[in-house]
């Protein structure tokens, strides 16, 4: 058993580095809290958000984390639901990351509320017609179910429950991402969002973002413990990532093509794809090239077998995911609402003009607080419990054939 030879629990190895990790995460959190109290005092005037761009940078980070959280659970699902041993060994880490990232994403959403002091109101008043309220139920359920799932994985007496609970977690996460995508899909009034494709597209995105985050975290943990990742494992993860990236690109193309040819959202498509200033740049350069094509090329290049290449490919996917969220969330709002089709509009409330948005440091600090939250939860949990993937190489041998 390799677990005997290597130092898998960082507790015994490098406590100093553990504390420095905590310190880094804590420092970022401190910045986030400072930003939160600053904004709580002065109000959202100190952000770049306004009455036209009502959701800004914090939401880019938050929605990315939430979408990736549900996606990262896929690793566990492939193990439990589809019975792949290699993935099963990674199920605990996958569940942990799912919980940590969801917590991070939700924390950002809460910190950005106009009245965060009324969080209790949000917990006690539900409008069941609202997708948002529905999402809160899905999020809470996700914590409970994935928590339970982790328990069945880690407690040997409960092991036999891990399959049904894993299946439930899998179905739940599909529903959750559908609901998250629907937050945008149901905004019928806005040219950029009114599409039924949003829900399935978010599911595909979540596959790629989640797996990319998983690869990143696993790489760091291996490096941390001086473990050489097995080539077969790496190659299977990277191939899966490649499939997901390709699916993302495909779905993105389908969304824009249907918008153009069926929904006739010509103006909006021209804005986001061609002449909308920063947004086409972020779309083509960030989402499509950096987050899609480049990682694909890297994975299939001759260097694609090296752990470093896979690591950087995954990093690019995560980066591209943030670009995608920026284009989706902020680009979608920047395009003016068309109140009177066939007319040119102008007013003191910025009708008919592209809405400007310049984020400030405060909202950036709020946003990265989500990553810091997820990072701190993961770091602490990994230290006290065994989340390190431990492979039984016989199984991998078997599955390879």
């Amino acid at each position: 058993m390799p677990s005997q030879e290597f130092c898998l629990s960082p507790r015994e190895c490098k406590p100093g580095q553990f504390w420095s990790l905590l310190a880094v995460g804590g420092l970022v959190m401190l910045g986030t809290l400072a930003a939160f109290f600053y904004l709580e005092h002065h109000g959202h005037v100190m952000t770049g958000m306004n009455n036209q761009i009502v959701w800004g940078l914090p939401h880019v980070f938050a929605v990315f984390l939430i979408v990736a959280a549900s996606g990262v659970l896929n690793v566990a699902s492939i193990g439990s639901v589809f019975g792949k041993k290699m993935y099963k060994a990674r199920a605990p880490l996958s569940g942990l990351l799912a919980i940590a990232m969801l917590a991070g994403g939700l924390a950002v959403l809460v910190l950005d509320l106009g009245r965060p002091d009324r969080l209790i109101v949000a917990m006690t008043h539900y409008n069941f017609k609202s997708i948002f309220a529905l999402n809160m139920i899905f999020y809470n359920g996700f914590f409970a179910i994935v928590g339970l799932y982790l328990l069945t994985l880690m407690d040997r007496r409960l092991n036999h429950w891990s399959k049904p609970v894993g299946l439930l977690a899998f179905l739940w996460r599909l529903a959750l991402t559908t609901a998250t995508g629907s937050i945008f899909g149901f905004l019928v009034a806005r040219a950029g969002y009114n599409s039924a494709l949003y829900a399935p597209m978010f599911i595909i995105y979540s596959f790629a973002y989640g797996l990319a985050v998983f690869i990143l975290v696993q790489s760091v943990m291996y490096k941390w413990n001086n473990i050489q990742v097995d080539e077969r494992i790496l190659s299977r993860l990277k191939n899966l990532l490649a499939i997901f990236i390709a699916a993302c690109l495909y779905f993105t193309a389908v969304l824009h093509l249907t918008n153009m040819y069926f929904a006739k959202q010509w103006e909006f498509e021209r804005f986001i794809l061609l002449d909308g200033g920063i947004y086409p740049l972020l779309f083509w350069g960030g989402q499509v090239f950096l987050g899609g094509i480049l990682p694909l090329v890297m994975i299939f290049s001759r260097a694609g077998k090296s752990p470093a290449t896979v690591f950087f490919a995954a990093l690019l996917v995560v980066l591209g995911g943030h670009f995608q969220m920026y284009v989706t969330i902020i680009g979608g709002q920047a395009f003016p609402l068309d109140l009177f089709p066939g007319y040119a509009e102008s007013s003191s409330f910025f009708d008919g003009v592209v809405h400007g948005y310049t984020p400030t440091i405060w909202e950036f600090l709020l946003g990265i607080g989500g990553i810091a939250t997820a990072f701190l939860i993961t770091t602490a949990a990994v230290r006290v419990l065994k989340f390190m993937p431990q492979d039984d190489f016989k199984d991998i041998e078997l599955e390879a054939h």
Binding site: H42, P116, R118, H125, N127, F132, G356
Partner: protein
């Protein structure tokens, strides 16, 4: 005819009014009198779904460059009147130019008080709400400031209060961190004035482009206008059945 609008439990005062209306109604113009009776609501009586408040805006009478309705709204509701990207605007003058013909029109844009308001549908806490009489409001005691309603509103009718406020109108509380929008001057309507600041200002300026009233009351001027002239809903394709209608576009 309109007597069924009266609640059976109406107070003595109202029973008296009704008797008076019936007695004199035959001699005088009955519609006008009964109309007055049906609208009077005692302070303790809740808003009723027999009433639906609405507005018709005649764009042919609306003067381009005139913003009296906006000024009046700001004064009534205690808005600063600033027009930066982060400032609240409950009503704004919109200039539109037909792309083909080049015809220009000016009109006020405000909360359309939809029958099926998207803001109410999406609000997670139920703070966005529609009163029985059709007025769409934000209950700012349960609004958490998530701004999903602003994403959902097809008319950009809502504003978020971005900074702390002081010296509010006691009749119109407003404050940081909540979303707000046109209330159809609910404080005036509930006082029985049955008009809004913008409509008063438009009339005072002699334009008479805005008309406020009960769409459900067949005798009301607004219902009569609705019946006689073609009116348009903005974004009628969304089927929201707006309470604000436009004439002349």
């Amino acid at each position: 005819m309109n007597e069924q609008n009266l609640k059976p439990d109406s107070s003595d005062r109202r029973a008296f009014l009704k008797a008076g209306a019936v007695a004199t109604g035959t001699a005088l113009a009955p519609g006008v009198l009964l109309f007055g009776v049906a609208q009077a609501r005692a302070p303790g009586e809740p808003a009723s779904d027999k009433v639906r408040w609405g507005m018709i805006i005649d764009t042919t009478k609306c003067a381009s460059g005139c913003s009296d309705c906006v000024t009046a709204c700001n004064t009534e509701n205690g808005l600063s009147g600033a027009t930066g990207p982060q400032d609240s605007q409950w009503i704004r003058k919109l200039n539109i130019r037909h792309l083909k013909s080049g015809v220009e029109t000016s009109l006020p844009m405000l909360c359309q008080h939809c029958e099926h308001p998207p803001c109410v549908d999406v609000c997670p806490t139920g703070a966005s709400m529609k009163r029985a009489d059709g007025i769409v409001l934000v209950d700012r005691h349960t609004c958490i400031g998530c701004r999903y309603c602003m994403m959902a509103c097809p008319y950009k009718a809502r504003s978020f209060v971005h900074e702390p406020l002081t010296d509010q109108n006691p009749e119109v509380p407003r404050g940081k961190g909540c979303v707000e929008s046109c209330t159809f001057c609910v404080q005036k309507v509930d006082r029985g004035e049955n008009t809004t600041a913008c409509v008063e200002a438009c009339n005072a300026a002699g334009h008479k482009a805005m008309l406020f009233g009960d769409l459900n009351d067949p005798q009301s001027e607004i219902a009569q206008t609705m019946k006689t002239y073609a009116t348009t809903e903005v974004r009628a394709d969304l089927r929201l059945n707006t309470g604000v209608r436009y004439q002349g576009i």
